[in-house]
């Protein structure tokens, strides 16, 4: 079962498991996890399970509840998180099975280590803000949209420029290709570009395209300004602002 360990100066003072009932934390001795410190309110915070995830909620404490140094009113807890209350640290061990709230004897509960959960919009915003603050906020803050574009440098195509709007862009003679090659002996599907999470990848079709003069050996991520050559057509891959 998941547990909370109250730490003080790197020593475990007390451990409690989080079951179906909420664990209360505070200075008053009637708490499940009493923390004897003046900076801690009588009923400071509670930790409980909700829809399969462990949640900490601040109970309007005077000095606040912090999760990994971020002050929170309510936050989802993950394995390895630290809750700070006053001068004390509470380590979160979420590695055990989540408690099964309804008649627990019915079925062996699946270990819920990897339990999938959905962030509602409010939490999602917080999480993304936090993630952005963690570093490399440059791309995150930049609201200018960069539009991936193929500019035709030479060769016969149906347009001079193509914006890569789909997850898959087909270059070929096919009537359904995005970049339509014209002329005899052109392959139906010469090459293709796949939009993935971390960028745009060029892959082979019936032909092996080359990037900056080098023939492809496998899918390759395109960088701003790359020169793509396939089936007699030269294309420039650029990010337009």
């Amino acid at each position: 079962m998941p547990k909370l360990s109250l730490m003080f100066e790197n020593k475990i003072v007390k451990e409690v498991s989080v079951g179906t009932r909420p664990v209360t934390i505070g200075r008053s001795p009637d708490n499940d996890l009493p923390v004897d410190n003046l900076a801690v309110s009588n009923h400071h915070a509670k930790v409980y399970f909700e829809a399969g995830r462990m949640v900490v909620e601040d109970l309007d404490s005077l000095n606040g509840t912090f999760v990994n140094d971020l002050r929170v009113e309510r936050a989802t807890l993950h394995d390895g998180d630290n809750i700070h209350i006053g001068k004390h640290k509470i380590k979160v061990d979420a590695s055990g099975d989540a408690p099964v709230p309804w008649d627990s004897g019915r079925k062996a509960a699946a270990p819920r280590i990897d339990e999938t959960m959905v962030l509602d919009t409010k939490e999602r915003r917080q999480m993304l803000q936090q993630a952005a603050a963690m570093g490399e906020s440059m791309q995150f803050a930049g609201t200018r949209l960069k539009v991936p574009t193929l500019v035709v440098l030479s060769g016969k195509t149906d347009q001079k420029e193509y914006v890569l709007a789909n997850k898959l862009t087909v270059i070929g003679k096919s009537a359904m290709a995005t970049v339509r090659l014209q002329g005899w002996f052109k392959p139906q599907m010469a090459a293709q570009i796949n939009q993935r999470d971390d960028g745009y990848y060029l892959g082979a079709g019936d032909k092996v395209p080359s990037v900056n003069g080098k023939p492809l050996t496998g899918p390759v991520r395109l960088n701003d300004g790359d020169l793509v050559e396939v089936s007699g057509v030269r294309l420039n891959f650029v990010f337009r602002e």
């Binding site: 959960m117 959905v118 490399e136 019936d206």
Partner: protein
């Protein structure tokens, strides 16, 4: 185009129940996969409800072509893509309503990935982190983008793809059916070519089996059901940490009638221009 398909779902090695669900509707060339979540048996309810709703709404396509479109659709989409996207919106509403009405179902949800093939046109609709891939030109192309926190962080340049695979936040979804009254559905259209292979899978496969391994299996085993069995077995060898579901659809040219031979002939000549097919 000639279509052969097969699918397998497996509980895996760790979980006690299978919350994944899939359905192959052969005559319609419709393939739907869903991965449910929620305590007790509610993940199973959610994924089954998702698949049933989508299949039902699409089956109704011929009988009731003018059914109301739900959610935002692009005007250029085909009627099938609009229908499929609408079906996913309806599935979301059904799960959401059911969870609202039944206290014990609170928090249940499901991913959904569906493909619908109309000759050479493919419609894809998707919410969550179950993926659709296309094997073409020897490489695996991802047709969906996970609606997960880590994938979003990769898109924003906060994490690299490799870091995302190591992250312990992989189970956090930003979008799923049933979480909110209305959602956004990703839908797209693509063109299919002979020899294309489509693969739908739940994250139980992609967490433990790499893309090159998937591509290799699809190339080595041409029987869709056997290929799906092999992929599931591979995921189980790696510990089977989650439910695993794989649906495979293989496309081929129609039978070799004289007409298709005539049409196919010039294409073969063009092969001398460079490397041929494969």
């Amino acid at each position: 185009m000639r279509i052969a398909s097969g699918g397998v779902t497996d509980v895996g090695r760790v979980r006690s129940n299978n919350e994944d669900c899939f359905k192959i509707v052969e005559p319609l060339h419709l393939f739907v996969l869903s991965d449910g979540m929620g305590g007790e048996a509610h993940g199973e309810i959610a994924s089954a409800m998702a698949v049933e709703t989508v299949v039902k709404h699409c089956l109704d396509f011929d009988a009731n072509p003018a059914a109301k479109v739900v959610g935002t659709v692009e005007p250029k989409w085909s009627a099938r893509t609009k229908r499929l996207s609408t079906a996913v919106h309806l599935a979301n509403r059904n799960i959401f309503k059911s969870a609202e009405a039944n206290e014990e179902q609170r928090g249940m949800g499901a991913t959904l990935t569906a493909v619908w093939i109309d000759d050479a046109r493919l419609s894809v609709a998707h919410v969550g982190d179950s993926r659709a891939y296309l094997l073409r030109g020897g490489g695996l192309l991802q047709l969906t983008r996970d609606h997960s926190l880590v994938a979003e962080q990769v898109r924003r340049g906060i994490l690299t793809a490799a870091e995302a695979e190591e992250s312990d936040m992989q189970s956090v979804l930003l979008r799923a059916l049933g979480a909110q009254a209305e959602i956004e559905v990703d839908a797209e259209e693509h063109t299919l070519f002979p020899r294309d292979v489509l693969l739908l899978c739940s994250d139980g496969l992609t967490r433990v089996v790499t893309e090159p391994e998937i591509a290799g299996t699809l190339q080595a085993e041409t029987d869709p059901t056997r290929a799906a069995e092999k992929l599931v077995a591979l995921a189980n060898e790696r510990g089977g940490p989650d439910n695993i579901t794989v649906v495979i659809v293989r496309l081929d040219k129609d039978s070799k009638g004289w007409f298709s031979w005539l049409r196919g002939a010039p294409r073969k000549n063009s092969g001398t221009n460079g490397t041929g097919g494969n």
